[in-house]
């Protein structure tokens, strides 16, 4: 059968290169939870090989595996054959959406972002008691989770920026809509244009994002190229914070969860640790860390579409916090925070914060 799918045109060679060694089992958070080989990268590549050779069709029967992937890239990091599974999965999802084979939650997400400005469809944005759309050196871009679900960490981050006298403004931001690219659709151009216009209007030369995924979207997606053309720098808050000395310390045993979007996808492992070491001399790594970090289970649309497994993956991550008996788990992504917090059992006594939230708390209790 002739190749008719875009994923095959783009990735045929990579998919064939998967030697089915199964080494991806070691890191795939879904496999670790379910012990179901159909859900890990090898299972997905075997399905795609059969689609390419015409044995099966790309249809609804495959949604459960092809739409159930957090695109955490742990497998790609380990793969001896160098297969970039997340890129392949994202393209396959686009092909499936084109054929109208799509998880209903993802379909709903796309529709929602056509009608609303954020992934939760909320009409009343939090104002965080800050000025918006004013001239400033930096724009602080919060992201949907930080705006609508994790407002406490966001408020704390803004307080910390004030404490460090960072000259920033918020904007009437809308969803960066990068998530649509992960679930088979494309970035909503209207939303992108609105963010670009609002950022440029402030005259800021740098955008600080509270969410590593927004940072990736602004830096890598063509719909945001205008920012690059205008020489606007996009950084994640951890890249800014590393240059400050908070002047406070905790004697608690602290560990750090690398968000996939910041770590494996952007290669930012050291900056968050630099600042954590300044405030927490008792810092200890979890078993899986840096490029080998275990995903929290929230990404790639999995939290929305496969909620039970998403929480299950977060629980497995939290088991590693218990293993080292850490008292505080820090992370740099509101989405990870949200999922990990939802998964935390009452018996688990450690606390989970974003790094900036924790630093702000130390500063406030020091006052």
């Amino acid at each position: 059968m002739d190749v008719q799918y875009e994923f095959a045109n783009k990735f045929r060679d990579q998919i064939l290169r998967c030697s089915s060694c199964g080494f991806c089992r070691a890191i795939c958070p879904l496999f670790g939870l379910t012990k179901r080989p159909a859900l890990n990268a090898r299972g997905k590549m075997l399905v795609l090989k059969e689609v390419m050779d015409g044995s099966i069709d790309l249809n609804d029967e495959l949604v459960e595996t092809l739409f159930q992937c957090t695109t955490c890239a742990g497998c790609a990091e380990l793969c001896p054959s160098g297969v970039n599974v997340p890129d392949i999965i994202k393209q396959v999802r686009k092909d499936m959406v084109f054929l109208d084979s799509c998880h209903p939650v993802f379909k709903g997400m796309n529709k929602l972002l056509q009608e609303h400005t954020n992934i939760y469809g909320e009409d009343e944005p939090e104002d965080f008691e800050r000025e918006r759309n004013t001239p400033a050196e930096y724009v602080f871009f919060i992201g949907c989770v930080g705006s609508y679900r994790e407002d406490e960490p966001t408020m704390a981050t803004l307080d910390l920026l004030d404490h460090f006298r960072v000259d920033y403004t918020l904007i009437d931001e809308v969803c960066c809509s990068g998530v649509l690219e992960d679930v088979g659709y494309e970035i909503n151009k209207n939303l992108a244009q609105k963010n670009i216009d609002l950022i440029l209007a402030t005259g800021a030369k740098t955008v600080i994002t509270g969410c590593p995924f927004c940072s990736r979207t602004f830096n890598n997606k063509t719909q945001y190229d205008r920012l690059k053309q205008e020489k606007i720098k996009i950084i994640h808050i951890s890249q800014l914070l590393k240059d400050f000395d908070p002047g406070v310390k905790t004697d608690k045993l602290v560990t750090y969860h690398d968000p996939c979007d910041l770590g494996r996808h952007c290669g930012i492992y050291e900056e968050p640790r630099e600042i954590i070491r300044k405030i927490a001399p008792n810092f200890v790594e979890m078993r899986h860390n840096r490029a080998n970090a275990l995903c929290c289970g929230a990404g790639g649309g999995v939290r929305g579409a496969f909620a039970k497994n998403s929480i299950g993956m977060a629980r497995r991550r939290l088991e590693e916090v218990e293993e080292i008996q850490a008292e505080v788990l820090l992370t740099e992504c509101n989405s990870c925070l949200h999922n990990l917090d939802n998964a935390k059992l009452r018996a688990q006594k450690f606390k989970i914060y974003t790094t900036s939230q924790f630093i702000n708390q130390l500063i406030e209790s020091d006052r």
Binding site: S19, C21, R36, V47, S81, G82
Partner: protein, 459 residues
């Protein structure tokens, strides 16, 4: 498979541990070879009684049952060539007991090798075989293939550590073999019978392993040889010098060239590169052993000899060996990781043969191996979509194994026979040996329901 059988399987394991979804059948259709066939259903049993009920049902209704670990097999062992049912043991993954006092660990078959290693580490103990797929492979799979690794020359393979097994026989009876003692002369050694039996005689549901203290100190050295025969002589001399290296690995010229073409490592493209490791409890002990090895390297005309002064340097010396597989895997779209063993003195002969076959059939066959125990892995990377290339690979493989047997070698050192080597079984085993093996298969599994078609054991 009839619907009534599927319904009964669901009753036995519960609906959440049963599947006949297309995506699962595809995932279970392959291992790390090109052999491929879909099962008709798969289950994740949770205990020995479920396994027993499943096998009783299979024997009554006569459908094939194929036990499966992590599916990392390099010889087609868990590929359900005749359909039937996959018994995925991954959810029986508990470490049941670790007794340092008795020097043993009792585990379920789905425990991942590395998870046991992690559990033993706080007591400075280990399960030594160290297979390359240790991060994912399961202990049940290790036992069923008699898996080995780079520590073979000093520490042996899985068979040297299995003390006892719980096995479900094809008729559903539960067999307990061996004992929890370090030694036993009691009765036939039924334990060993199941080690390396590739799931053809019974389903392993519990494993008692002997564990070893882990020597805390290691030293590493690397030597390059312009002449393969010099490297071969060095290997032999080391192995009869009175010391046993904890690892002695070889990387051939084609591997070094492949690594250089695909990385910026700039390795010397010599005929052979050897990496040796010694371990022990005191610095003097490891130094004494390593001094002997480096002396032998030099005596046999090593072009260069390097000793690692610290962990980072040791890691650097290991890079060529550890990179070889990944590099080879990226050269082309299909990969055969071959496996053979020859008497140690024959290592240079077999490496020459491989190099000649690569030229004769116009193939790339980078080769690495556990030189210290004569276990060699030619890694053939080729275009599986080209019919002529596939044919050349098949011819070269057949020629290779004829030579292996001629040299007094064996078809497999640690990967097993499965489907890949089944056609060659009679090359190595004579009529009497094959007849005894067939009789054993008939005794345990008269209806041939367990992993049929493997090991060339046709009833």
């Amino acid at each position: 498979m009839e619907t009534s059988i599927k319904e009964r399987l669901k009753e036995i394991v519960g609906p959440e541990n049963y599947t006949d979804d297309l995506i699962d059948l595809i995932a279970y259709s392959k291992d790390a070879t090109e052999h491929k066939h879909r099962p008709e259903a798969a289950v994740w049993p949770l205990d020995v009684n479920q396994v027993s009920k499943i096998l009783m049902l299979a024997n009554e209704k006569l459908f094939p049952v194929v036990p499966r670990g992590a599916g990392t097999s390099l010889a087609g062992l868990p590929v359900p060539e005749r359909g039937g049912l996959i018994l995925d043991m991954a959810r029986m993954d508990k470490i049941l007991n670790i007794s340092i006092e008795d020097r043993l660990a009792v585990v379920q078959p789905g425990v991942v090798y590395q998870d046991l290693e992690r559990a033993l580490a706080p007591d400075d103990f280990c399960f030594p075989p160290d297979p390359a797929s240790g991060a994912v492979c399961t202990l049940g799979g290790n036992v069923a293939t008699n898996a080995g690794g780079i520590k073979g020359a000093k520490y042996g393979t899985t068979k040297d550590y299995v003390l006892a097994l719980e096995v479900v026989l094809p008729d559903g009876r539960i067999l307990h073999t061996g004992s929890q003692c370090m030694k036993t002369s009691s009765g036939y050694d039924l334990t060993k019978l199941f080690v390396g039996s590739e799931g053809t005689l019974g389903v392993i549901t519990e494993i008692t392993l002997k564990i070893n203290p882990r020597p805390p100190l290691v030293t590493t050295s690397m030597a390059t040889f312009d002449d393969l025969e010099d490297a071969g002589r060095a290997i032999s001399e080391i192995m009869y010098s009175g010391i046993l290296p904890s690892a002695l690995e070889i990387v051939d010229q084609q591997s070094l060239k492949a690594i250089n073409q695909n990385t910026d490592m700039n390795l010397p493209e010599v005929e052979a590169l050897l990496v040796a490791e010694t371990d022990g409890y005191t610095q003097e002990e490891v130094e004494f052993q390593m001094a002997k090895i480096t002396k032998i390297f030099k005596k046999n005309n090593a072009a260069t000899v390097r000793r690692a002064e610290n962990e980072e340097e040791a890691a650097a010396l290991w890079t060529a060996r550890k990179t070889a597989y990944g590099v080879t895997a990226r050269i082309n779209n299909t990969l055969f990781v071959e496996d053979l063993a020859v008497p140690m003195s024959k290592v240079p002969d077999i490496l020459r043969t491989i190099s000649d076959l690569a030229k004769k059939y116009d193939l790339k066959i980078p080769t690495v191996g556990h030189a210290g125990d004569g276990n060699i892995h030619p890694v053939i990377s080729f275009d599986g979509t080209s019919r002529s290339e596939v044919e050349r690979v098949e011819k070269a493989t057949k020629d290779l194994f004829e030579k292996v047997i001629e040299l007094g070698g064996t078809l497999t050192g640690e990967h097993g026979i499965g489907l890949a080597k089944a056609p060659f079984m009679r090359m190595e085993h004579d009529d009497v040996a094959m007849d005894v093996m067939l009789s054993m298969k008939r005794l345990f599994d008269p209806n041939n329901i367990l992993n049929p078609g493997k090991m060339g054991l046709e009833l």
